[in-house]
Symmetry: C2
Subunit: 264 residues, 2 copies
Amino acid sequence: VPHAVFRQTGSKSLMEAARPYSRLLYWLERSCAMSSDDRQRIAELPLTVANFGSNQLIAKHGDAPSRCTLLLSGFIYGHKLVGTSRRQITSLLVPGDIAGLQGLCLSRLDHSLSALGPTVVVFFPHAPFAAILDESPRLSRAFWRETFVEAAIAREWIANLGRREALARLAHVICELAVRLRVVDTLQSFSLCIPWTQTDVADICGISGVHANRVVQELRRSRVLDWRSSQICVLDWKALCEVADFSEDYLIRAPQQEFANSDA
Amino acid sequence: VPHAVFRQTGSKSLMEAARPYSRLLYWLERSCAMSSDDRQRIAELPLTVANFGSNQLIAKHGDAPSRCTLLLSGFIYGHKLVGTSRRQITSLLVPGDIAGLQGLCLSRLDHSLSALGPTVVVFFPHAPFAAILDESPRLSRAFWRETFVEAAIAREWIANLGRREALARLAHVICELAVRLRVVDTLQSFSLCIPWTQTDVADICGISGVHANRVVQELRRSRVLDWRSSQICVLDWKALCEVADFSEDYLIRAPQQEFANSDA
DNA sequence: CGACCGATTGACACAGCTCAAATGAAGTGG
DNA sequence: CCACTTCATTTGAGCTGTGTCAATCGGTCG
């Protein structure tokens, strides 16, 4: 990954300031071939680092946010309220994911975003970012692709909620997270740390809190994984995938090649 | 293989040929302020009209399609197979919707697309279309926005499947379609025609076919609507929305204005 | 220590599933 | 014009996954 020029806009510590830029650039280098011009422009985006605590609201349904959010560490969940009080979690963001691109194209947010546990994010304002995208079809395409990946995940969630029973649903969510967090091991076992409660799990899987507990226990009992709330140790990846009916196809980001090397 | 394919170059068959272009242009005019340049380029896209019959496969999971699909009439449904044989419908397209934009950015399709009933579509190839988008930030943004609308719908489906019971789920799907098809009346009652079977309905709502039937009967019994398979007459829109816990917020396409008038 | 929150348990109710069979509508071929 | 097939709808019966309610337990923190 080539290096880039970092310019800091109104930030103090070098360490703190460099990290968000490099993360964003890393993301982009991975996603598309940037020109040095692109790199320069991105580096000039004014970034704002922010921390959020558990269940803190980051953006609310109905808002018209003026900035995008790059998740540096922790997790963000998207959620909607159904009826008067039933929460459904509609998406999970892992470090490196970007939220709020929607705001570039639509005026109002259709769902809320909150921090699952303590998180660190970087905000960057829509206006200059939109200008950059308008100048660079490559970058534009890279972010658009991100939207499609998110959509593919949403579709899998639909299938998960519609056609799998609770045990498989939860297993599937864990499989997905393991792959998205890149912690899947060639060995059968590995662990991941997700700061959620069983109530959160319930709202992801579309089940009740009580039943979430039963399902967690079933997964423990069958020795597929070890679960201590936020610390999850997958004991048998193969078996977990089996239970989940999981295939990682839908998470593959392979870009369409035909046009990748030919912009105007 | 489509029932009938006929390719048009320029202005061949008048009646038939004029329609797809005007539909695509109509869509675009509604979506963004096009330059006459944009308009000209779009008009030069080679279009292919095709017909599909009920449940005919249009694109398959794993394919790498090289063209986009504008739905002229009829309905298309996106679906995934869960386990060995359980189908879940993950999306519905109504006339005017575009499928396969995904292929501009990702190499492989994560879901399949089929015709719900008899449909007429227009295919247009990715390559020249991508070139047009790269030249026009406005157009690019308009289609990106479409992706976000689709994503918002997917999120609502997630909430629908996760947190509503069967009766409300089906009611919600009908409300959504009524709004997307723009057939909602200022009066309380109106009708819409959707060529689906109760099995299709079941696979949309994530329930069994038998239960779909019971739910349909319940909606009939409570005089909220009249259901004759494909002909659905909404007798009491207000009551239907009530049952469905429906709000059309998530379908609103209002574009972000700030950048709409300022490309490079 | 008390308050609170999350995890856990048990009892019971119910939504929705499966299996199986009957009915109805539409099309096909003799 | 009538058997025959096929497919969608409908119905009933019993079973199971999941929800609800309510209580308990265990940790954490002020």
